[in-house]
Amino acid sequence: VTVRERVRRFFFAPSAPTNLAVCRIIFFGWLLCCFLSYDVAGWARLPADTWDPVWFVELFGPLPSARMLAVLGIAWKVSLVLGALGLFRPVTIGVAAVLGAYLLGLTASFSMGNYDIGMPVIMLFVFWIARSTDALSLDAVIARHRGKPRPSPSGEYTWPITTGRVLLALAFFAAGVSKLRHGGVDWIVTDNLRWLFVGQQYTHAPVLNWAAYLAEFPLLCRLLAGGTVALELSYPLALFVRRVRPWLVVGMIGLQLGIHLFMGVNYLAFLVANIFWVDWPAVGRVFNGKLSELIPRVATPEHPSRHKDVLDGSP
């Protein structure tokens, strides 16, 4: 099999539209929950000297008035609702993507970066371009009423999910490489993480102050630092090695939640990208009481574990 063929299968193996549709509903619903209380107009009240726009925010020119920002904020939140419902995708998800890029970009345009927004913004554009409303949507209902046939499995429903996975893998791998590049091995073998744990109690507002207690155990801190870098560097294996996928994905979700709870760094919007690892129709089958259909497959060589069925999604 040629490399080109492998790449084609990786991104475009035919799959049903349902998985992508469920991802769309969860993704837009999650973003709406994360940013429902986002006070967009608040940016206009900041000192003008803190304005330092990222490049795609700069494309839109000077910062609009508070009133205009408020209107844009409402329009974006409405577009997220319509995106979840899957109505008029080319317009509503397009608005969600463009406004999302701008309004989320604003969070990184006042002298401070925001690691949490890159992945959601890119995926908004992916959902816009992809045929993400061919199932479980009002667009699909309208299409059935017009007599259009149900969509058959296609690579068009696979590449957006694979793209989400690849972006996740690249983001975490880059984080691991960056630590070794800038901090070197000292990032692991010195008291770096220990001081980070204590310092965050002053500079951030963690939900729990447990990191301050963890800092009392320097060896444990070094083990955690080593584990973090190892997890980040090995995360791309989740793309190709099904056996390790559940461990890497669940481990990274735990790491992100731990960073949020103990260090006060918010990755809640970023976390939603983990939905691309899940085979949602399989989850649906479980919740529909068809567990019995899956259990006999556990022992077969093709399906070594039940986790593989749910935390997989690969065609």
Partner: protein
């Protein structure tokens, strides 16, 4: 390359932490914490001040930031959106906390004040 340029906590942390905070100065010289509605606050204030300190006209820029925060405070007070006393200025401090000592030792440096007297 652009992705790898994002720091992502990749630098080495040392036994110090730096916190930036803004306070309002009332008539008798007493300092009061600003209400959270006066932004930037917390980590964002720290990032904004660090960013301003790194540019050539840092002194003037920092003063303008403090002055803008003072003006926003007075605007909210005039509109009765906040029920706090009038202030004559906003001061921005940079606290350095030594983490290796027990208890941790804090040293304070005044970064800027605005509006200027």
């Amino acid at each position: 390359v652009a992705v790898l340029a994002v720091p992502m906590y990749s630098g080495l942390a040392g036994p110090t932490a730096v916190v930036t905070r803004a306070v309002g100065v009332v008539d008798n010289g007493r300092e009061l914490p600003l209400p959270p509605r006066i932004e930037p606050t917390g980590l964002h204030l720290h990032a904004a001040v660090e960013h301003a300190r790194a540019v050539p006209d840092s002194t003037a820029r920092l003063t303008r930031i403090a002055t803008a925060m003072w003006a926003e405070y007075e605007r909210l007070r005039a509109g009765e959106d906040i029920d706090d006393p009038p202030i004559t200025a906003v001061r921005i401090y940079r606290d350095t906390i030594e983490l290796a000592t027990r208890p941790h030792v804090r040293s304070v440096v005044l970064v800027t004040q605005g509006p200027l007297p």
